[in-house]
């Protein structure tokens, strides 16, 4: 029976985990500080108490966490494991890229690895270069791994449940700056959607802005400013990056003839490059050269003043759209 409650993003993720543990006895939830402490961001609070041994703490051993989740998933469990910071994936990426992604393919579907890996990423004031990267492109470059980036509290609930229901490995990349934000209305208990889809934040005809992750909110703010200037921008937010809604994105770009992609990851090799490439390959005629709004190719500095100089926000997104409009 669906009900609506006011929850923060972190509380919504907690509600999704609770529901998954309730509805699916094969779900296990574990990771560093996930069990008794309830997660360093409080996302798994109360779950150990409610579900006992299915929720537990692990050693600080990312390879063992990820690899054991792959192995347990091969044997009928549906593990939901946490990598506390996306940056910590790097000590154990083998278990994602060489192990999880290959299970179904090499066995021709006789083995599967339905695991969910929760992590969080993004810049936040004072975070050092090893705690502020946006690494979604690593996983998007790995066929076999599904990827999503929840932005709203409803996303935090819905996407996590879709991920847990998915029969493939899914990386759910949350954002720590959102965990403890304002409470939002979240509909709980409804049907779990299959993975995929997009959210049209705003329709428009001047330009298409494609965005995901934390920059989604900045893009919406930029679009409001631009609307006051008379530019109606179509904002396509893609919480699911794999599968990616290519048809919808290409159709929108074909309609508006202008494209900006905004993400918090570094520019070179970022997924924005892929979006531009697909538009080019599709032969879509553009009124002006497409633009990427991204973190320039450098390491992220810790000092807030330095980070602010390189992490894009609403101003940079709005400026990019204005340039496109001015160009033709």
């Amino acid at each position: 029976m669906p009900e609506t409650r006011k929850l923060s993003y972190g509380e919504a993720a907690n509600a999704a985990l609770r529901r998954a543990l309730e509805e699916r006895p094969e779900v296990l939830l574990y990771g560093e500080d996930v069990g008794v402490p309830g997660g360093v961001f409080g996302v798994s609070k109360g779950l150990r108490k409610q579900f006992g041994d299915r929720v537990f703490d692990t050693p600080i051993s990312e390879s063992a966490i990820l690899g054991s989740a792959v192995g347990a998933a091969m044997f009928g469990r549906r593990p939901v494991v946490e990598i506390m910071w996306t940056d910590f994936f790097l000590v154990a990426l083998d278990q994602v890229v060489n192990q999880a992604a290959n299970v179904r393919y090499v066995s021709e579907g006789r083995l599967t690895a339905p695991l969910t890996i929760r992590t969080q990423q993004g810049t936040a004031p004072g975070s050092c270069a090893q705690h502020s990267q946006s690494l979604e492109a690593f996983f998007l470059h790995t066929p076999g791994i599904r990827v999503c980036m929840p932005v709203t509290a409803q996303d935090a609930y819905d996407l996590l449940l879709s991920a847990i229901g998915c029969d493939d490995p899914v990386v759910v990349i949350e954002n720590r700056t959102l965990y403890h934000g304002a409470k939002q209305e979240v509909s709980l208990g409804g049907p779990v959607a299959p993975i995929g889809g997009l959210r049209t934040r705003r329709t428009g005809t001047t330009a298409t802005v494609v965005t995901w992750g934390a920059l989604s909110l900045q893009t919406v703010a930029a679009a409001e400013t631009l609307a006051q200037e008379g530019h109606d921008v179509e904002v396509l937010e893609t919480p699911w990056l794999d599968p990616f809604p290519w048809d919808e994105v290409l159709a929108s770009v074909a309609r508006t003839g202008r494209l900006v992609v905004a993400h918090e990851a570094n520019r070179t090799g970022g997924f924005g490059a892929e979006v531009l490439a697909r538009v080019a390959e599709a032969g879509i005629a553009l009124a002006a050269p497409p633009r990427r709004v991204a973190v320039p190719d450098l390491r992220l500095p810790a000092a807030p003043g330095l980070a602010a100089a390189v992490v894009p926000g609403a101003d940079q997104i709005a400026a990019a759209v204005r340039q496109l409009v001015a160009a033709g």
Partner: protein
Amino acid sequence: MTESETGTGAMLRDLRDVWRIRLLEEKVRDLRLGGDIVGSVHLCIGQEAGPVGACSVLEPADALFATYRGHGWALARGVPAAAILAELLGRATGVNGGRGGSAHFTAPEYGFHGENSIVGAGAPLALGAALAGRFDGTGRVALCVFGDGAMNQGAVHESMNFAAAFDLPVVFVCENNEYSELTPIRDMVRNDVLADRARAYGMLGERIDGNDPAVVRDRVGDAVQSAREGGGPVLLELMTARLVGHYIGDAEQYRQPGELERLAENEPVTRLQAALRAAAVPESDIAAAHDDAAHEIEAAAREAAAAPLADAEAVRRHVHA
């Protein structure tokens, strides 16, 4: 116990099973040198006693994770020789329809949960198989095989500690063939008794004769039983040797003078045959152990070679659900 379970009966069966692996690997070598099999191939010639002894004590529901040097483990676990050869030959009838190849095939229906081409990477997977067993009530034991070199990989250490901390039923089998590719393990560790490391994780560790199937059966059997009964993980260091290169084409310049001759005296076929002769087993029985295996492998090779190549039409399938 009857004569067939112990003594010369068991030895004859072990000899046949060792020959099955030996002859499979020799067939693979021939096919690789002849160009029918392409790509990197790692043979386990000389190391057959490990898989023969260990697989004989595993239950069907147990999980087995091996390495790229895994043909022998797969065969001992029950994967048909024809399906293995077909896989290496890129045939449609290969265990994975050609997707795995020599170094990365998997056959879960036989309790063979895969080779792995990443050194040490099977250990976390085995951990997960054991963890799943805790919740599904199967009492599954996970046996994880890796080499001496893998003992220096982080994933293996993480897994040993994790398994020990949670008393998970994982039997870690380290096949110490004294080399990691071209480098002697003794040059890469200060204490070359690798089993000693188990103590640091609070689990049992034992170095054993890895070239005697009966010893392997006994020690792995105890480890599996103890793990199944809740005693937690065990590390067994099987002392063995590969009689061939790390891969086909390895020039083996790292060998010492007389090394291969010395190893030849201690390899499983030589030892089993000598023991059988000492027990006055008839030569015809000893020959039959070889001939039965040869018959099987030759038939498997013919079957594999006759199979159609894997169909490229299907190459995009099974990326996702």
